[in-house]
Protein backbone atom coordinates (compact mmCIF):
# COMPACT_ATOMS: atom_id res chain seq x y z
CA UNK A 1 0.00 0.00 0.00
CA UNK A 2 2.17 2.85 -1.27
CA UNK A 3 -0.05 5.59 0.15
CA UNK A 4 0.87 4.43 3.63
CA UNK A 5 4.57 4.78 3.03
CA UNK A 6 4.79 8.31 4.36
CA UNK A 7 4.06 6.87 7.77
CA UNK A 8 7.22 4.84 7.71
CA UNK A 9 9.68 7.58 6.83
CA UNK A 10 12.38 7.77 9.49
CA UNK A 11 11.80 10.59 11.92
CA UNK A 12 13.67 11.77 14.93
CA UNK A 13 11.69 10.64 17.95
CA UNK A 14 12.63 13.79 19.81
CA UNK A 15 11.23 16.16 17.23
CA UNK A 16 7.71 15.34 18.32
CA UNK A 17 7.70 18.05 20.97
CA UNK A 18 4.87 19.67 22.87
CA UNK A 19 3.75 16.51 24.60
CA UNK A 20 5.74 16.50 27.79
CA UNK A 21 3.99 14.14 30.15
CA UNK A 22 4.95 15.73 33.43
CA UNK A 23 6.23 19.07 34.70
CA UNK A 24 9.98 19.28 34.27
CA UNK A 25 11.95 19.68 37.46
CA UNK A 26 14.21 22.68 37.13
CA UNK A 27 16.68 21.55 39.80
CA UNK A 28 20.32 21.91 38.85
CA UNK A 29 20.73 18.13 38.55
CA UNK A 30 17.95 16.81 36.48
CA UNK A 31 16.93 13.18 37.11
CA UNK A 32 18.10 10.75 34.46
CA UNK A 33 17.30 7.24 33.34
CA UNK A 34 19.86 4.83 31.95
CA UNK A 35 18.87 3.19 28.70
CA UNK A 36 19.26 -0.60 28.86
CA UNK A 37 20.00 -0.64 25.14
CA UNK A 38 22.59 2.11 24.53
CA UNK A 39 23.54 2.60 28.21
CA UNK A 40 23.40 6.38 27.89
CA UNK A 41 21.87 8.42 30.69
CA UNK A 42 18.89 10.32 29.32
CA UNK A 43 17.40 13.27 31.21
CA UNK A 44 13.80 12.47 32.09
CA UNK A 45 12.46 15.65 30.52
CA UNK A 46 14.04 14.71 27.24
CA UNK A 47 12.62 11.22 27.49
CA UNK A 48 9.13 12.50 28.17
CA UNK A 49 9.29 14.98 25.34
CA UNK A 50 10.24 12.07 23.09
CA UNK A 51 7.33 9.78 24.01
CA UNK A 52 9.50 7.85 26.46
CA UNK A 53 11.69 6.64 23.64
CA UNK A 54 15.48 6.86 23.85
CA UNK A 55 17.23 8.53 20.87
CA UNK A 56 18.65 5.07 20.14
CA UNK A 57 15.10 3.82 19.58
CA UNK A 58 14.61 1.93 22.82
CA UNK A 59 10.97 2.14 23.94
CA UNK A 60 10.58 2.54 27.69
CA UNK A 61 7.33 1.38 29.23
CA UNK A 62 4.53 3.88 29.37
CA UNK A 63 1.58 4.26 31.73
CA UNK A 64 -1.94 4.60 30.39
CA UNK A 65 -2.39 8.32 31.00
CA UNK A 66 0.84 9.22 29.20
CA UNK A 67 -0.21 7.00 26.31
CA UNK A 68 -3.60 8.68 26.10
CA UNK A 69 -1.89 12.05 25.77
CA UNK A 70 -0.11 11.14 22.55
CA UNK A 71 -2.80 8.85 21.18
CA UNK A 72 -6.20 10.44 21.66
CA UNK A 73 -7.17 13.84 20.28
CA UNK A 74 -7.12 16.36 23.09
CA UNK A 75 -10.19 16.21 25.30
CA UNK A 76 -11.90 13.38 23.38
CA UNK A 77 -11.31 10.47 25.75
CA UNK A 78 -14.38 9.50 27.74
CA UNK A 79 -13.67 6.74 30.22
CA UNK A 80 -16.18 3.91 30.52
CA UNK A 81 -16.79 1.23 33.15
CA UNK A 82 -14.39 2.75 35.68
CA UNK A 83 -16.82 1.55 38.36
CA UNK A 84 -15.85 -2.07 37.62
CA UNK A 85 -13.26 -3.16 40.15
CA UNK A 86 -11.79 -6.50 41.12
CA UNK A 87 -13.09 -8.12 44.24
CA UNK A 88 -11.21 -10.83 46.07
CA UNK A 89 -13.29 -13.82 44.99
CA UNK A 90 -11.07 -16.44 46.63
CA UNK A 91 -10.22 -14.45 49.75
CA UNK A 92 -6.61 -14.98 48.69
CA UNK A 93 -4.08 -14.16 51.43
CA UNK A 94 -2.57 -10.71 50.98
CA UNK A 95 -4.49 -9.92 47.79
CA UNK A 96 -6.87 -7.30 49.19
CA UNK A 97 -3.94 -5.38 50.68
CA UNK A 98 -1.95 -5.70 47.48
CA UNK A 99 -4.87 -4.24 45.51
CA UNK A 100 -5.17 -1.33 47.91
CA UNK A 101 -1.49 -0.40 47.82
CA UNK A 102 -1.38 -0.80 44.03
CA UNK A 103 -4.36 1.51 43.66
CA UNK A 104 -2.58 4.11 45.73
CA UNK A 105 0.79 3.81 44.01
CA UNK A 106 -0.51 3.60 40.44
CA UNK A 107 -3.40 6.04 40.90
CA UNK A 108 -5.45 3.65 38.77
CA UNK A 109 -8.33 1.48 39.91
CA UNK A 110 -7.49 -1.46 37.69
CA UNK A 111 -4.99 -2.80 35.17
CA UNK A 112 -6.92 -1.56 32.15
CA UNK A 113 -8.77 1.61 31.28
CA UNK A 114 -11.47 1.64 28.64
CA UNK A 115 -13.40 4.33 26.88
CA UNK A 116 -14.20 6.08 23.65
CA UNK A 117 -11.90 8.53 21.98
CA UNK A 118 -11.05 10.18 18.72
CA UNK A 119 -7.75 9.51 17.04
CA UNK A 120 -7.23 12.18 14.38
CA UNK A 121 -11.01 12.61 14.28
CA UNK A 122 -11.64 8.87 13.95
CA UNK A 123 -14.00 7.84 16.72
CA UNK A 124 -13.26 4.45 18.28
CA UNK A 125 -13.38 2.39 21.43
CA UNK A 126 -10.05 2.25 23.16
CA UNK A 127 -8.52 0.12 25.87
CA UNK A 128 -5.10 0.61 27.37
CA UNK A 129 -3.54 -1.80 29.80
CA UNK A 130 -1.50 -0.42 32.68
CA UNK A 131 2.03 -1.75 33.24
CA UNK A 132 2.17 -0.06 36.64
CA UNK A 133 -0.87 -1.92 37.97
CA UNK A 134 0.29 -5.43 38.88
CA UNK A 135 1.96 -5.56 35.44
CA UNK A 136 -1.37 -5.55 33.64
CA UNK A 137 -2.42 -8.90 35.07
CA UNK A 138 -5.89 -10.02 34.05
CA UNK A 139 -8.41 -10.49 36.82
CA UNK A 140 -12.18 -10.25 36.73
CA UNK A 141 -12.21 -6.46 36.45
CA UNK A 142 -9.88 -6.45 33.45
CA UNK A 143 -11.95 -9.18 31.79
CA UNK A 144 -15.22 -7.47 32.58
CA UNK A 145 -14.11 -4.03 31.41
CA UNK A 146 -12.77 -5.36 28.12
CA UNK A 147 -15.85 -7.51 27.56
CA UNK A 148 -18.12 -4.52 28.20
CA UNK A 149 -16.05 -2.43 25.82
CA UNK A 150 -16.49 -4.92 22.98
CA UNK A 151 -20.22 -5.17 23.73
CA UNK A 152 -20.44 -1.37 23.73
CA UNK A 153 -18.47 -1.22 20.46
CA UNK A 154 -20.79 -3.81 18.93
CA UNK A 155 -23.88 -1.87 19.98
CA UNK A 156 -22.50 1.41 18.62
CA UNK A 157 -20.77 -0.17 15.63
CA UNK A 158 -17.35 1.16 16.55
CA UNK A 159 -13.85 -0.16 15.93
CA UNK A 160 -11.77 -1.18 18.92
CA UNK A 161 -8.13 -0.21 19.41
CA UNK A 162 -6.35 -1.99 22.24
CA UNK A 163 -2.87 -1.57 23.72
CA UNK A 164 -1.85 -4.71 25.58
CA UNK A 165 0.67 -5.15 28.34
CA UNK A 166 0.36 -8.04 30.74
CA UNK A 167 2.25 -10.49 32.85
CA UNK A 168 -0.66 -12.90 32.35
CA UNK A 169 -3.52 -14.09 34.49
CA UNK A 170 -3.99 -12.70 38.00
CA UNK A 171 -3.42 -15.89 39.95
CA UNK A 172 -4.91 -14.50 43.16
CA UNK A 173 -8.30 -14.71 41.46
CA UNK A 174 -7.87 -18.35 40.46
CA UNK A 175 -10.35 -19.74 37.94
CA UNK A 176 -12.27 -16.45 37.95
CA UNK A 177 -9.20 -15.00 36.29
CA UNK A 178 -8.71 -17.89 33.85
CA UNK A 179 -12.31 -17.67 32.65
CA UNK A 180 -11.78 -14.06 31.59
CA UNK A 181 -9.79 -15.43 28.65
CA UNK A 182 -12.88 -17.23 27.36
CA UNK A 183 -15.21 -14.36 28.24
CA UNK A 184 -13.19 -11.68 26.44
CA UNK A 185 -12.66 -13.99 23.45
CA UNK A 186 -16.42 -14.47 23.19
CA UNK A 187 -16.97 -10.72 23.12
CA UNK A 188 -14.21 -10.20 20.54
CA UNK A 189 -15.79 -12.92 18.39
CA UNK A 190 -19.24 -11.30 18.43
CA UNK A 191 -17.73 -7.93 17.55
CA UNK A 192 -15.72 -9.56 14.77
CA UNK A 193 -18.65 -11.53 13.36
CA UNK A 194 -20.56 -8.26 13.04
CA UNK A 195 -17.92 -7.09 10.57
CA UNK A 196 -16.30 -4.64 12.96
CA UNK A 197 -12.62 -3.81 13.15
CA UNK A 198 -10.26 -4.62 16.03
CA UNK A 199 -6.66 -3.47 16.13
CA UNK A 200 -4.19 -4.51 18.79
CA UNK A 201 -0.85 -2.96 19.62
CA UNK A 202 1.34 -5.31 21.65
CA UNK A 203 3.61 -3.48 24.05
CA UNK A 204 6.27 -4.65 26.46
CA UNK A 205 5.57 -7.18 27.92
CA UNK A 206 2.51 -9.01 26.55
CA UNK A 207 2.51 -12.57 27.85
CA UNK A 208 0.49 -15.47 29.24
CA UNK A 209 -3.28 -15.44 29.25
CA UNK A 210 -3.56 -12.08 27.52
CA UNK A 211 -1.38 -13.25 24.62
CA UNK A 212 -3.48 -16.42 24.52
CA UNK A 213 -6.70 -14.44 24.24
CA UNK A 214 -7.61 -10.93 23.09
CA UNK A 215 -4.05 -9.73 22.32
CA UNK A 216 -3.76 -12.23 19.46
CA UNK A 217 -7.34 -11.86 18.23
CA UNK A 218 -7.01 -8.54 16.41
CA UNK A 219 -7.76 -8.19 12.69
CA UNK A 220 -4.49 -6.31 12.56
CA UNK A 221 -1.78 -6.88 15.16
CA UNK A 222 0.93 -4.26 15.58
CA UNK A 223 3.78 -4.30 18.07
CA UNK A 224 6.15 -1.76 19.58
CA UNK A 225 9.86 -2.23 18.75
CA UNK A 226 11.65 -4.57 21.12
CA UNK A 227 8.51 -5.51 23.06
CA UNK A 228 8.58 -8.93 24.73
CA UNK A 229 5.62 -10.95 23.45
CA UNK A 230 5.02 -14.59 24.20
CA UNK A 231 2.91 -17.19 25.92
CA UNK A 232 5.22 -18.98 28.35
CA UNK A 233 7.74 -16.96 30.32
CA UNK A 234 11.30 -17.05 28.94
CA UNK A 235 12.79 -18.11 32.27
CA UNK A 236 10.29 -20.95 32.61
CA UNK A 237 11.14 -22.16 29.10
CA UNK A 238 14.84 -22.03 29.88
CA UNK A 239 14.36 -24.00 33.09
CA UNK A 240 12.06 -26.56 31.48
CA UNK A 241 14.02 -27.19 28.31
CA UNK A 242 17.51 -26.52 29.70
CA UNK A 243 18.39 -24.93 26.37
CA UNK A 244 19.84 -21.52 25.70
CA UNK A 245 17.21 -19.28 24.19
CA UNK A 246 17.94 -17.91 20.72
CA UNK A 247 18.93 -14.26 20.49
CA UNK A 248 15.93 -11.98 20.32
CA UNK A 249 13.58 -14.77 21.44
CA UNK A 250 10.01 -13.56 22.08
CA UNK A 251 10.66 -10.03 20.88
CA UNK A 252 8.27 -8.20 18.57
CA UNK A 253 10.84 -8.73 15.80
CA UNK A 254 10.85 -12.49 16.49
CA UNK A 255 7.06 -12.57 16.18
CA UNK A 256 7.19 -10.61 12.94
CA UNK A 257 9.70 -13.08 11.54
CA UNK A 258 7.48 -16.03 12.50
CA UNK A 259 4.33 -14.48 11.10
CA UNK A 260 2.44 -13.51 14.23
CA UNK A 261 2.34 -9.72 13.94
CA UNK A 262 1.57 -7.53 10.95
CA UNK A 263 4.05 -4.73 11.58
CA UNK A 264 6.32 -3.16 14.15
CA UNK A 265 5.46 0.47 14.65
CA UNK A 266 7.46 2.95 16.73
CA UNK A 267 5.47 5.17 19.07
CA UNK A 268 6.06 8.31 17.03
CA UNK A 269 4.23 6.80 14.06
CA UNK A 270 1.41 5.04 15.86
CA UNK A 271 -1.18 7.77 15.98
CA UNK A 272 -1.17 8.58 12.27
CA UNK A 273 -1.12 4.93 11.27
CA UNK A 274 -3.92 3.95 13.64
CA UNK A 275 -6.04 6.84 12.39
CA UNK A 276 -5.45 5.74 8.80
CA UNK A 277 -6.34 2.12 9.56
CA UNK A 278 -9.46 3.22 11.44
CA UNK A 279 -10.49 5.32 8.51
CA UNK A 280 -10.05 2.39 6.14
CA UNK A 281 -12.38 0.32 8.30
CA UNK A 282 -14.90 3.02 9.16
CA UNK A 283 -18.38 1.57 9.08
CA UNK A 284 -20.60 3.45 6.72
CA UNK A 285 -22.90 5.71 8.68
CA UNK A 286 -21.78 4.22 11.95
CA UNK A 287 -18.26 5.32 12.67
CA UNK A 288 -19.22 8.84 13.61
CA UNK A 289 -22.11 7.82 15.87
Amino acid sequence: MPFLEFLFQPKNELEQGGRSAAPVQSDEREPEKTCPNCHNAIPLSRLWAGLNVCPCGYHFRMGVRARLRYLADKGTFRELFSEVRSGDPLGFPGYADKLETTRTSSREEEAVICGTAEIQWQKCCLFLMEPYFMMGSMGTAVGERITRLFEYALEHRLSVVGFTVSGGARMQEGLYSLMQMAKTSGAVKRHSDAGLFYLTVLTDPTTGGVTASFAMEGDIILAEPGATVGFAGARVIEQTTRKALPKGFQTAEFLLEHGFVDAIVPRSRQKALIARLLQMHAFEGGASA
Partner: protein
Amino acid sequence: MSRSAYETVKLARSGRRPTGLDFIQGVFSDFFELHGDRRCGDDGAVVGGLADLAGRSVTVIAIEKGHSLRERMLRSFGAPQPEGYRKALRLMKQAEKFHRPVICLVDTSGAYCGIGAEERGQGQAIAENLMEMMALRTPVISLLIGEGGSGGALALAVADRVWMLENAIYSVISPEGCASILWKDAKRAPEAAAQLKLTARDALAGGMIERIIPEEGLGKAEYYAALRQALNAELEGLLQLDTQSLLEARYQRFRRIGKEREA
Protein backbone atom coordinates in the same frame (compact mmCIF):
# COMPACT_ATOMS: atom_id res chain seq x y z
CA MET B 1 -13.72 -37.66 55.06
CA SER B 2 -12.32 -35.08 52.70
CA ARG B 3 -8.73 -34.98 51.50
CA SER B 4 -6.61 -31.86 51.28
CA ALA B 5 -6.46 -29.90 48.04
CA TYR B 6 -2.87 -30.95 47.47
CA GLU B 7 -3.72 -34.62 47.95
CA THR B 8 -6.30 -34.16 45.21
CA VAL B 9 -3.61 -32.53 43.03
CA LYS B 10 -1.45 -35.62 43.48
CA LEU B 11 -4.34 -37.91 42.61
CA ALA B 12 -5.17 -35.87 39.52
CA ARG B 13 -1.56 -36.19 38.35
CA SER B 14 -1.15 -39.84 39.22
CA GLY B 15 0.30 -42.00 36.45
CA ARG B 16 -2.12 -44.78 37.45
CA ARG B 17 -5.12 -42.72 36.49
CA PRO B 18 -6.95 -43.62 33.26
CA THR B 19 -5.88 -41.30 30.43
CA GLY B 20 -7.80 -39.75 27.56
CA LEU B 21 -7.46 -42.82 25.34
CA ASP B 22 -8.65 -45.08 28.17
CA PHE B 23 -11.81 -43.01 28.37
CA ILE B 24 -12.21 -43.08 24.60
CA GLN B 25 -11.94 -46.88 24.61
CA GLY B 26 -14.21 -47.27 27.63
CA VAL B 27 -16.97 -44.77 26.92
CA PHE B 28 -17.09 -44.68 23.11
CA SER B 29 -17.04 -47.38 20.47
CA ASP B 30 -15.64 -47.62 16.92
CA PHE B 31 -13.11 -44.87 17.47
CA PHE B 32 -11.37 -43.84 14.29
CA GLU B 33 -8.44 -41.54 14.87
CA LEU B 34 -7.88 -38.55 12.59
CA HIS B 35 -4.38 -37.14 12.45
CA GLY B 36 -2.76 -33.80 11.76
CA ASP B 37 -3.55 -30.10 11.82
CA ARG B 38 -3.24 -29.63 8.01
CA ARG B 39 -0.80 -26.80 8.75
CA CYS B 40 2.47 -28.35 9.77
CA GLY B 41 2.25 -31.42 11.95
CA ASP B 42 0.53 -33.96 14.13
CA ASP B 43 0.81 -33.51 17.88
CA GLY B 44 0.77 -36.72 19.89
CA ALA B 45 -0.49 -34.94 22.99
CA VAL B 46 -3.87 -34.38 21.34
CA VAL B 47 -5.80 -37.37 20.05
CA GLY B 48 -8.98 -36.85 18.10
CA GLY B 49 -11.35 -38.60 15.78
CA LEU B 50 -14.78 -40.01 15.12
CA ALA B 51 -16.58 -42.33 17.47
CA ASP B 52 -19.92 -43.74 18.39
CA LEU B 53 -21.54 -42.69 21.64
CA ALA B 54 -24.63 -44.77 22.45
CA GLY B 55 -25.55 -44.99 18.77
CA ARG B 56 -24.73 -41.37 17.93
CA SER B 57 -21.76 -40.21 15.83
CA VAL B 58 -19.62 -37.73 17.70
CA THR B 59 -16.24 -36.07 17.40
CA VAL B 60 -14.09 -36.85 20.41
CA ILE B 61 -10.89 -34.98 21.21
CA ALA B 62 -8.65 -35.89 24.12
CA ILE B 63 -5.42 -34.66 25.60
CA GLU B 64 -3.43 -37.84 26.10
CA LYS B 65 -0.60 -38.18 28.61
CA GLY B 66 0.31 -41.78 27.82
CA HIS B 67 1.18 -44.62 30.18
CA SER B 68 4.68 -45.98 29.54
CA LEU B 69 7.61 -43.60 29.79
CA ARG B 70 8.28 -43.97 26.08
CA GLU B 71 4.70 -43.11 25.21
CA ARG B 72 4.64 -40.26 27.68
CA MET B 73 7.69 -38.77 26.02
CA LEU B 74 6.14 -39.13 22.58
CA ARG B 75 3.08 -37.32 23.86
CA SER B 76 5.09 -34.63 25.69
CA PHE B 77 3.41 -35.80 28.92
CA GLY B 78 0.13 -34.39 27.71
CA ALA B 79 1.35 -30.87 27.07
CA PRO B 80 -0.04 -29.88 23.66
CA GLN B 81 1.96 -28.05 21.02
CA PRO B 82 0.25 -25.39 18.90
CA GLU B 83 -0.33 -28.17 16.33
CA GLY B 84 -2.39 -30.03 18.93
CA TYR B 85 -4.72 -27.08 19.44
CA ARG B 86 -4.94 -26.51 15.69
CA LYS B 87 -5.76 -30.17 15.09
CA ALA B 88 -8.46 -29.95 17.75
CA LEU B 89 -9.92 -26.88 16.08
CA ARG B 90 -9.82 -28.54 12.68
CA LEU B 91 -11.80 -31.49 14.03
CA MET B 92 -14.27 -29.19 15.78
CA LYS B 93 -14.87 -27.25 12.57
CA GLN B 94 -15.41 -30.55 10.79
CA ALA B 95 -17.91 -31.58 13.47
CA GLU B 96 -19.70 -28.25 13.03
CA LYS B 97 -19.99 -28.84 9.30
CA PHE B 98 -21.67 -32.20 9.82
CA HIS B 99 -23.71 -31.15 12.88
CA ARG B 100 -21.88 -33.64 15.05
CA PRO B 101 -21.56 -32.99 18.77
CA VAL B 102 -18.07 -32.61 20.21
CA ILE B 103 -16.78 -34.23 23.40
CA CYS B 104 -13.44 -33.01 24.76
CA LEU B 105 -11.49 -34.93 27.38
CA VAL B 106 -9.05 -32.62 29.12
CA ASP B 107 -5.97 -33.73 31.03
CA THR B 108 -2.93 -31.48 30.89
CA SER B 109 -0.58 -29.70 33.23
CA GLY B 110 -0.61 -26.93 30.62
CA ALA B 111 0.25 -26.05 27.04
CA TYR B 112 3.73 -27.16 25.97
CA CYS B 113 6.42 -24.81 27.12
CA GLY B 114 9.30 -24.61 24.64
CA ILE B 115 11.14 -22.62 22.01
CA GLY B 116 9.41 -24.26 19.06
CA ALA B 117 5.97 -23.88 20.60
CA GLU B 118 6.57 -20.13 20.92
CA GLU B 119 7.95 -19.90 17.38
CA ARG B 120 4.80 -21.54 16.05
CA GLY B 121 2.45 -19.33 18.04
CA GLN B 122 1.27 -21.16 21.16
CA GLY B 123 -0.57 -18.07 22.38
CA GLN B 124 -2.21 -17.47 19.01
CA ALA B 125 -3.30 -21.11 18.74
CA ILE B 126 -5.00 -21.05 22.14
CA ALA B 127 -6.58 -17.65 21.47
CA GLU B 128 -8.05 -18.89 18.20
CA ASN B 129 -9.58 -21.93 19.88
CA LEU B 130 -11.20 -19.78 22.56
CA MET B 131 -12.71 -17.49 19.96
CA GLU B 132 -13.86 -20.20 17.58
CA MET B 133 -15.23 -22.55 20.23
CA MET B 134 -17.33 -19.72 21.59
CA ALA B 135 -19.19 -19.65 18.27
CA LEU B 136 -19.05 -23.32 17.23
CA ARG B 137 -22.49 -24.18 15.91
CA THR B 138 -22.75 -27.60 17.47
CA PRO B 139 -22.97 -28.79 21.10
CA VAL B 140 -19.70 -29.17 23.00
CA ILE B 141 -19.19 -30.98 26.31
CA SER B 142 -15.80 -30.88 28.00
CA LEU B 143 -14.87 -33.34 30.69
CA LEU B 144 -11.83 -32.71 32.85
CA ILE B 145 -10.50 -36.16 33.67
CA GLY B 146 -7.23 -35.26 35.43
CA GLU B 147 -5.33 -32.00 35.34
CA GLY B 148 -6.97 -28.87 34.04
CA GLY B 149 -3.90 -26.70 33.70
CA SER B 150 -4.65 -23.09 32.83
CA GLY B 151 -5.06 -21.76 29.29
CA GLY B 152 -3.79 -25.02 27.84
CA ALA B 153 -6.83 -26.77 29.32
CA LEU B 154 -9.28 -23.95 28.67
CA ALA B 155 -8.44 -24.16 24.96
CA LEU B 156 -10.48 -27.40 24.93
CA ALA B 157 -13.02 -26.36 27.55
CA VAL B 158 -15.02 -23.51 26.05
CA ALA B 159 -18.11 -25.67 26.07
CA ASP B 160 -21.84 -25.78 26.76
CA ARG B 161 -21.21 -28.08 29.69
CA VAL B 162 -17.99 -28.54 31.61
CA TRP B 163 -17.81 -31.51 33.93
CA MET B 164 -15.05 -32.67 36.22
CA LEU B 165 -14.20 -36.04 37.64
CA GLU B 166 -14.28 -36.02 41.40
CA ASN B 167 -10.48 -35.97 41.74
CA ALA B 168 -9.67 -33.80 38.75
CA ILE B 169 -8.34 -30.29 39.26
CA TYR B 170 -8.80 -27.03 37.36
CA SER B 171 -6.45 -24.15 38.02
CA VAL B 172 -5.13 -20.91 36.59
CA ILE B 173 -1.59 -21.89 37.61
CA SER B 174 0.09 -24.92 39.15
CA PRO B 175 0.29 -24.75 42.95
CA GLU B 176 4.09 -25.00 42.65
CA GLY B 177 4.21 -22.09 40.20
CA CYS B 178 1.92 -20.01 42.36
CA ALA B 179 3.95 -20.67 45.51
CA SER B 180 7.26 -19.89 43.84
CA ILE B 181 6.01 -16.65 42.29
CA LEU B 182 4.14 -15.34 45.33
CA TRP B 183 6.23 -16.70 48.16
CA LYS B 184 9.48 -17.61 46.37
CA ASP B 185 9.10 -21.11 47.76
CA ALA B 186 7.76 -23.98 45.67
CA LYS B 187 7.59 -26.11 48.82
CA ARG B 188 4.57 -24.13 49.90
CA ALA B 189 2.60 -25.67 47.02
CA PRO B 190 0.14 -27.45 49.36
CA GLU B 191 -0.79 -24.09 50.84
CA ALA B 192 -1.17 -22.56 47.38
CA ALA B 193 -3.29 -25.52 46.27
CA ALA B 194 -5.72 -24.85 49.10
CA GLN B 195 -5.89 -21.12 48.32
CA LEU B 196 -6.32 -21.55 44.56
CA LYS B 197 -9.64 -23.40 45.04
CA LEU B 198 -8.80 -25.87 42.32
CA THR B 199 -10.83 -28.93 43.29
CA ALA B 200 -13.98 -30.06 41.51
CA ARG B 201 -16.07 -29.07 44.50
CA ASP B 202 -14.62 -25.53 44.48
CA ALA B 203 -15.16 -25.25 40.73
CA LEU B 204 -18.78 -26.33 41.12
CA ALA B 205 -19.36 -23.89 43.97
CA GLY B 206 -17.88 -21.06 41.90
CA GLY B 207 -20.13 -21.86 38.95
CA MET B 208 -17.20 -22.82 36.71
CA ILE B 209 -18.56 -26.32 36.01
CA GLU B 210 -21.98 -27.96 35.88
CA ARG B 211 -21.35 -31.39 37.28
CA ILE B 212 -18.98 -33.58 39.27
CA ILE B 213 -18.62 -37.19 38.13
CA PRO B 214 -17.99 -39.48 41.12
CA GLU B 215 -14.99 -41.77 40.77
CA GLU B 216 -15.68 -44.48 43.26
CA GLY B 217 -18.30 -47.12 43.90
CA LEU B 218 -18.58 -48.67 40.45
CA GLY B 219 -16.63 -51.34 38.57
CA LYS B 220 -14.75 -50.24 35.47
CA ALA B 221 -17.35 -51.35 32.92
CA GLU B 222 -20.29 -49.94 34.90
CA TYR B 223 -18.38 -46.74 35.44
CA TYR B 224 -17.79 -46.13 31.75
CA ALA B 225 -21.37 -47.16 30.95
CA ALA B 226 -22.73 -44.65 33.44
CA LEU B 227 -20.59 -41.91 31.95
CA ARG B 228 -21.72 -42.89 28.44
CA GLN B 229 -25.30 -42.62 29.57
CA ALA B 230 -24.77 -39.26 31.27
CA LEU B 231 -23.04 -37.76 28.22
CA ASN B 232 -25.71 -39.10 25.91
CA ALA B 233 -28.54 -37.72 28.03
CA GLU B 234 -26.86 -34.32 28.16
CA LEU B 235 -26.32 -34.26 24.39
CA GLU B 236 -29.97 -35.20 23.95
CA GLY B 237 -30.94 -32.02 25.79
CA LEU B 238 -28.40 -29.79 24.02
CA LEU B 239 -29.45 -31.06 20.61
CA GLN B 240 -33.01 -29.91 21.33
CA LEU B 241 -31.85 -26.30 21.35
CA ASP B 242 -31.77 -24.28 18.17
CA THR B 243 -28.29 -23.01 17.31
CA GLN B 244 -29.02 -19.42 18.34
CA SER B 245 -30.14 -20.43 21.82
CA LEU B 246 -27.22 -22.82 22.18
CA LEU B 247 -24.69 -20.11 21.31
CA GLU B 248 -26.38 -17.47 23.44
CA ALA B 249 -26.36 -19.82 26.44
CA ARG B 250 -22.70 -20.67 25.85
CA TYR B 251 -21.81 -16.97 25.66
CA GLN B 252 -23.72 -16.21 28.86
CA ARG B 253 -22.20 -19.23 30.60
CA PHE B 254 -18.80 -17.51 30.48
CA ARG B 255 -20.09 -13.93 30.36
CA ARG B 256 -21.47 -14.06 33.89
CA ILE B 257 -18.18 -15.15 35.51
CA GLY B 258 -16.74 -12.14 37.28
CA LYS B 259 -19.68 -9.95 36.27
CA GLU B 260 -21.08 -9.48 39.76
CA ARG B 261 -17.81 -8.20 41.12
CA GLU B 262 -17.99 -4.46 41.02
CA ALA B 263 -17.82 -1.77 43.62
